[in-house]
């Protein structure tokens, strides 16, 4: 990595590669993997970063991300906007996000259907929202504001949930479909979150997926989860991001890609981060499915066109 000149607002970096994210596997970027990724013969399709980790003024994080961006397309995934917040969005944080987006020219920008800030406290967790009219209106107006500030579409990610709100009057899929319809945002489908929530809330993941507006999905997340039990001994899955993707989640992924065709697919691994080759193995597994299904899918659509 070579030294980079200080970045100023409005700068565009001619050394960056094309921003378009291919319908291939990507990986969540960890600082300890940067050098290995840059030297690897296996060219990962894209990398994704948590926006907040690059909201510092300068130093090594920006140097590393610049080197990555010179070689790979990038997806920026926010974890701190608190889109579901009851107390409104933080303008300063939107400005920070815009700065990261303007600087690194990502192919995709995404956030969560969740909240993480209340009053002045940031909880560093993706907390659930009730699926009712009032929350729907609020989330939509928040997404409108973010999309307007960034001057681009964002993707909204479905959450992992452990509880329900009695006041919810819609299903999660109805709630998310309505948000996408009203705001024009795209969707990030986290299949591990689907599996975790379905198990925890006792519905079938395939039912959820059949109700999910797949035509609006522009990215998929895969991750590992931990297993626990609730007060009555029923399965309680935790969205831990600390291990390989579960086989059941791979099966669902295969079905989804078979239906909708190849989509950029990110493998997330945020805790107990392994050496790069372990994470790369997960990405390669996703690549295999994407390649295999690309042929099937094309065949399927040709048949449809001919028929």
């Amino acid at each position: 990595m070579t030294d980079i000149p200080a970045w100023k607002d409005g700068d565009t970096d001619a050394s960056f590669t094309d921003r378009t994210i291919p319908a291939r596997a990507g990986a969540g970027l960890k600082p300890s993997h940067v050098d290995r990724i840059l030297q690897d013969d296996y060219r990962i399709g894209f990398l994704e970063v948590h926006a907040e980790n690059y909201m510092g003024d300068g130093g090594a994080p920006h140097r590393a991300l610049t080197a990555i961006r010179q070689n790979f397309p990038l997806s920026v995934h926010g974890v701190g906007l608190s889109i579901g917040s009851e107390k409104g969005l933080d303008d300063e944080h939107i400005t920070r996000l815009k700065r990261v987006v303007d600087r690194y020219e990502p192919g995709l920008v995404s956030e969560h259907l969740a909240w993480s800030t209340h009053d002045l406290s940031y909880y560093n967790d993706l907390l659930p929202v009730p699926y009712d009219r009032k929350t729907l209106d609020r989330v939509c107006s928040h997404i409108d504001r973010v999309q307007e500030a960034l001057g681009r579409k964002i993707l909204l990610e479905n959450p992992s949930t452990y509880v329900q709100f009695e006041q919810s009057s819609m299903s999660e899929t109805e709630f998310i479909s309505e948000i996408a319809r009203r705001t024009g945002c795209g969707l990030l489908l986290d299949i591990n979150n689907v599996f975790v929530s379905a198990t925890n809330q006792k519905y079938r993941p395939l039912t959820y997926l059949s109700e999910f507006p797949l035509e609006k999905v522009e990215e998929i997340h895969l991750a590992g989860h931990a297993t626990d039990i609730d007060d009555e001994g029923d399965a309680l899955l935790i969205d831990a991001h600390d291990r390989p993707v579960d086989d059941e989640v791979w099966k669902l992924y295969d079905i989804v890609i078979g239906q909708m065709g190849p989509v950029p697919t990110l493998v997330e691994w945020d805790n107990d981060v392994p050496e790069w080759p372990i994470l790369r193995r997960e990405a390669m597994r996703a690549d295999e499915i994407l390649e295999r299904r690309a042929a099937n899918y094309l065949l399927g659509s040709r048949h449809a066109a001919a028929g």
């Binding site: 907040e52 510092g56 944080h93 560093n124 907390l127 452990y162 299903s171 925890n200 809330q201 519905y203």
Partner: protein, 267 residues
């Protein structure tokens, strides 16, 4: 996916949980699960709600452990986690920029009774906080020594300097710098007398943060310069606290460390 309460909605009153109510219960284990937070089919959700409580506490304790790795190692994992949980309950991050969390952790340590015996701990925490601030500070090229050499000797005392965004001075009544450095490099603490006062300078010339021990008086000198005083005033401040203050050595050290970026233009 079933609609929650699709059958029972008319039959019973729905208990509404605000996010404020949700967040109050998050950090207070004494509080029950908010009424209206349920599991599937409306069953109770205490253990389910505890997942969120646990996520918040564990992730914030983990964030502190990453920001304060030397403090973590010095007190051991169990002690650190118990101590950090106490802190997390009273102080949550004020922004989603987690690397800024815990700016008053050192002050908390001053008053944390069970760690009182480790008198140097708060100052080690101050160094760690300064280290991470320097790590994320804006990039800036350090002052070229030639720029200083070009100043006529009789004008030298009038010069002011622009501090590098990464520069931090940390003073300690204990051997905090030696303890910090030994711990971070994996060395043991034998041979370090914790009672010897040390001042530290934290800088970042390019991308690597550097921490050095300052000779007597140099902390007062550098802090005065950082605060915008002239070289002459800074030297006086240093002599006031250390009669043996060596001005030439201090200037050499500040240039080598890259503590400043420019000679401030007069206005």
């Amino acid at each position: 996916m079933p609609r929650p309460d699709s059958n029972s909605e008319a039959a019973k009153t729905v208990r509404t949980v605000t996010l404020g109510r949700f967040s109050d219960a998050l950090l207070d284990p004494e509080q029950p699960t908010p009424a209206g937070i349920v599991g599937p089919d409306g069953k109770k959700a205490d253990k389910r709600f505890d997942v969120y409580r646990n996520n918040v506490t564990v992730s914030l304790v983990g964030a502190l452990a990453e920001i304060y790795p030397a403090v973590h190692r010095l007190v051991g994992d169990d002690f650190f986690r118990a101590m950090a949980r106490t802190y997390v309950r009273s102080e949550q991050p004020k922004s989603p920029l987690l690397f800024r969390y815990g700016d008053d952790f050192a002050d908390f340590l001053e008053g944390f009774e069970p760690a009182k015996k480790l008198v140097y701990l708060p100052d080690v925490a101050r160094l760690e906080r300064a280290w991470l601030d320097a790590f994320h500070a804006a990039d800036a090229p350090p002052l070229d020594p030639a720029a200083l050499a070009a100043i006529a000797p009789d004008e030298l005392a009038e010069q002011r300097f622009k501090a590098h965004p990464a520069t931090r001075v940390v003073c300690s009544r204990f051997a905090a710098v030696s303890i910090f450095s030994a711990n971070r490099s994996g060395a043991d603490l034998s041979g370090i007398d914790p009672a010897i006062a040390e001042d530290g300078l934290v800088t970042r010339r390019d991308f690597d943060v550097e921490v050095r021990t300052l000779p007597e008086g140099a902390a007062a000198f550098l802090q005065a310069l950082v605060d915008g005083n002239t070289l002459g005033e800074a030297a006086e401040a240093a002599v006031a606290v250390a009669q043996k203050f060596d001005l030439a050595a201090a200037i050499g050290a500040m240039l080598e460390a890259g503590a400043f970026t420019a000679i401030a233009t007069k206005d």
